[in-house]
């Protein structure tokens, strides 16, 4: 699909669309979540929020005696874990976020990828590790999303997809945000924001004052070659550049508490095409 980023039916002036991934640490912090949702609700542009879970799923699993399996540090989604994340992500967290947004005069609708066939995926087929009920995304139903956005309804995605064969699949929320952003970049001027507890891409992972304001491909190569970017950030940045190269207009990484500044380019790290 690369290279198809601007089909011939492109409108030259497209509506802006914000796609915002919210990190688990924010979901776990009642005051931060509340403040974030107020900021989100006050955005005038069309918008989509993507969330996973925080510690809630882990603590429910503990209470129910469902052991969390890790293989090479990666979480395995067995049937009982899938049940728990479906309850917590698509039920408790998703519906409470939606109800709160309604109270802040933001008409929102909570979806998982099965709803309206929004996000089609397949069960991950890994040569070595069986991740269990984990999905890799195949397609986004842009018609449905556009129809909701055009009714001024904001979409709140819980990080679950489906395989069209009746199976729900646990799916990385960063990846959902990225794939939805790429698909909708054909219809909107998309800014994708990864919001979390840090101020952006940092030169020193423990010092928020070392945030790098902009990174373009050549600067990225430079930073990587000088080992100035800490390892955990590299997959995030690779994804960000993939989105930018596909047609997403701007990708911003930064602190959830500074949402307005992230949108306006006054905070966080902006990933640029050139």
């Amino acid at each position: 699909m690369c290279g198809q980023r601007r089909p011939f039916y492109q409108k030259y002036s497209m509506d802006k669309l914000l796609i915002i991934k919210i990190g688990g640490n924010i979901i776990d912090d009642e005051a931060k979540l509340s403040s974030f949702l107020k900021d989100f609700a006050s955005i005038n542009e069309k918008k989509i929020l993507v969330h996973g879970g925080g510690k809630l799923a882990t603590s429910l699993a503990e209470k129910l005696g469902v052991e969390q399996k890790l293989v090479d540090g990666r979480r395995i989604t067995d049937r009982e874990t899938l049940k728990i994340v479906t309850m917590v992500y698509a039920g408790y967290i998703n519906k409470n976020i939606v109800a709160r947004l309604q109270s802040y005069d933001c008409n929102a609708i909570g979806l998982c990828g099965a709803d309206g066939d929004a996000i089609l995926a397949h069960k991950r087929n890994h040569p070595v590790i069986d991740y269990g009920f984990v999905g890799d995304i195949d397609a986004i139903n842009t018609n449905l999303l556009k129809s909701l956005l055009d009714q001024n309804i904001s979409i709140v995605f819980a990080s679950l997809t489906h395989d069209q064969k009746g199976q729900l699949l646990n799916t990385n929320a960063d990846t959902i945000a990225q794939e939805v952003a790429k698909a909708l970049s054909l219809l909107y001027d998309v800014q994708l924001i990864y919001s979390f507890e840090k101020a952006g891409v940092l030169l020193d992972a423990n010092d928020d004052s070392t945030v790098i304001p902009t990174i373009n491909p050549s600067r990225y190569e430079q930073l990587k070659s000088k080992q100035k970017i800490f390892a955990g950030m590299i997959p995030k940045l690779d994804n960000a550049f993939a989105a930018i190269n596909y047609g997403v207009k701007k990708v911003t990484i930064g602190k959830a508490e500074e949402l307005e500044k992230l949108i306006n380019g006054e905070a966080g790290t902006n990933i640029l095409n050139e």
Copy 2:
């Protein structure tokens, strides 16, 4: 709102819409649920499914040590119980139903009343009993529902509403089905079906062969005066007549396994206006 059932902008030929409430006993029975969802998926008309939970919420509450409080035989929804029903109804049950319908080529979307402001309610204000987080319905967002139905998307409602102040509310699924049916009777020819484990309204509650095929208001009075209708059915029938009087075209009560026959008038009890 009574008396407003046919506004001046009525279309004389309206599309048919089926609104089907599914009973908890069916949800608890894997084989019956599967068969029911296949039948539901094969309906060609526009359609809405309404469900609550079955025993799943009760068993999760037991596992988590959340005591179920009853006052005068009525269940009280305290904060912990609300959390459980939100997880089970809007999460686990709703998303699994939607994923299965997708596998049967039925494009469905799962909503609770907070989603898209679909069902607005207020916390029940009872002079004697504090029911906790239980909602009584104030308004249905027919624009949203029509927009989805007109895209050939079937709607699956979990029995939760919201109060526009950020609070989710546990709400009787029979009542949701009835209120959605009434509101949409302005836009569609609505048949409301209460499907459960019995064959319809029975003269003998334990004998499916005693189903009463049709009940109109005069027959209903007759049956009640002769005490031929068992007590538990009276609120259901009162609701059914309220829906019919408002403008719902047909209300049918019957066995979930006979969905096609219920739709065609070949099984169950049909509640008629005259």
